[in-house]
Amino acid sequence: MEQTSTIGPVEWVALTFPGSRLDARVVPPLRDLVDPGTVRLLDAAVLHKDADGVMTESELEAEGVQAFDDLDGDVLELLSEDDLIAIAASLAPGTTTLVLVWENRWAAAFADSVRRAGGVLSAYDRVPTDRVGPALQRAPLTGAPV
């Protein structure tokens, strides 16, 4: 992948799982994004909410899940205590949540090319998933070159 100094768009997600342990099965697909440099992991934190709704903040290395320890990325502690408390406030009891912050490196390289060509970003949004399905079904799939 092309090296670029621009910082790509940074996104975060909170992934909530039932129970009190992180599931290592999410690591391999994450590794497939990280290893080729498609995304760069910038932060990770873990939130436990017990059956009584009491929240405990934790860090990945304290979870004892080897797969995460070996995953390439940095824990830069960008997420503040307040961020994590605010996220946890709405989570269901009896769950474990992995909060990840990453940079879309692929978009940084693309943005550099656009900028060099004199282009600027005029709009940006994500299409709601429930609109994508019907839209794709309407689209003719002729296979003809555009």
């Binding site: 990770a44 009584d52 709704g53 009491v54 290395e61 502690e77 503040s80 961020d83 406030a89 989570l91």
Partner: protein
Amino acid sequence: MRRAMGRGRRGPSLLGTAARTAVIAGTATAVSGRVAAAQQPPPAPAARPPEPQPAPAPIGVDDLHAQLTKLGELRQSGLLTDEEFDTYKARLLTR
């Protein structure tokens, strides 16, 4: 993953209000637990705006300023919700 700082999560908020608003409704539950309780004060009972007054006298600029300031203070202190503030403010300005 590598821990690059090790100083704890005491920096400024990265997410701002999105940390609360971005949580998807389906995963949210009734707020329970100590942390949540500490974070969210119980909602104030909804104050009903008073019934419209019949044709009030026009208001002077000084009075207007004083009343707008007072309204702002009431909102700041949490006695008025943003919505109530807007209602009263609109009412003041149309007098």
